[in-house]
Amino acid sequence: MKKHFLALLTICLLASCAPQQMYYWGDYNKAVYDHQKEQTESSKKVLLKTFEEIISKSKKKATRKRVPPGIYADYGFHLLQDGQLEKGMRMLEKEKELYPESEQMVNYLMSQFK
């Protein structure tokens, strides 16, 4: 009985404390970490897919309904590294549009691939 009460109390506390996430992140942390560790074609594929999934779901999920800060840029960077220059640059432009404060950082990144 005591156990049940504690469990219920914990759930109530969490429900009142835990704020809803502002952004949708999918498996971002795991995909980034796995790719950094493995550096294989398949880990790269998973990472690129993760970015696509975050971008396609962001507008419907989480409270801010926007692609999270840095996601377009991170996706663009990995596309550039993958040799997909045109699409990569397009993603970087999107980052600047959505988050103007990223302009200098994105311009720096673009200069590395020109």
Binding site: T10, L13, L14, C17, A18, Q21, M22, Y23, W25, Y28, N29, K30, V32, Y33, Q36, K37, R64, P68, P69, G70, I71, A73, D74, F77, H78, Y99, E101, S102, E103, Q104, M105, Y108, L109, Q112
Partner: protein, 211 residues
């Protein structure tokens, strides 16, 4: 995700604890590679890659870790310990960063008996133009799986599952999430500028975080 909250009644508010952060109102934050003083080799990567997400969730614009890393490598600035006391203006000039986040991992050890991981870590956010300390906390965090029964013998049976739950990257994520809970919210948060009277956590704290 569940946090075991210790010391629920904070003694000071955020405006008092972090006045410089409220003054400067930084938006963009660049994360330095962690200074790893622990014996755990993977700690640096685990923390480095999990810092941007909680910063974004707190209302800030955090530069992606991958792109920052390209920059750190190009600038031969991978060793944050050489930079922590230096002026940060150049990061604002070159990348437009308003603030720089340093982390120092003091220790990382596995506690076999309870299948938990104990991490001592320090977070330091500095203004890129002012070089002022905007936010600073140091925590001793014990990250343990929620399936822990408190009995070493019973836990032994479920050890396999718990080892999987305490992966390095999850441990780092828990530490960051817990610590940043009291960080004043940034411009993209609906609470921006409104949380000055909310409670601040202790500057130095010790806590058990469950997954």
């Amino acid at each position: 995700m569940a946090f075991l909250i210790i010391g629920c009644s904070p003694k000071i508010d955020r405006l008092t604890a972090y006045p410089n952060l409220y003054n400067e109102k930084p938006l963009s934050i660049i994360v330095m590679p962690p200074i790893n003083l622990s014996t755990k080799v993977g700690a640096k990567t685990s923390f480095y890659n999990t810092l941007t997400m909680p910063l974004a969730e707190s209302g800030y614009y955090a530069f992606p870790a991958s792109i920052s890393m390209l920059f750190w490598k190009e600038q031969s600035a991978y060793d944050a310990e050489l930079l922590i006391d230096k002026p940060m203006g150049v990061l604002n000039e070159m990348l437009g960063a308003d603030a720089v986040l340093f982390t120092t991992i003091h220790s990382w050890r596995k506690v076999a008996l309870t299948s938990s991981v104990e991490v001592e870590i320090e977070y330091l956010l500095k203004g890129a133009l002012s070089d002022d300390v905007l936010y600073q906390r140091k925590g001793l965090l014990t990250v343990q799986s929620s399936s822990n029964s408190g009995s070493a013998l019973a836990d032994l049976a479920t050890n396999v599952i718990k080892t999987a739950l305490t992966k390095e990257v999850d441990v780092a994520q828990k530490c960051n999430e817990y610590t940043f809970q009291d960080m004043p919210r940034g411009k993209y948060s609906p609470l921006f500028g409104k949380d000055g009277t909310s409670g601040a956590g202790k500057k130095e704290f010790s806590v058990t975080v469950t997954q």
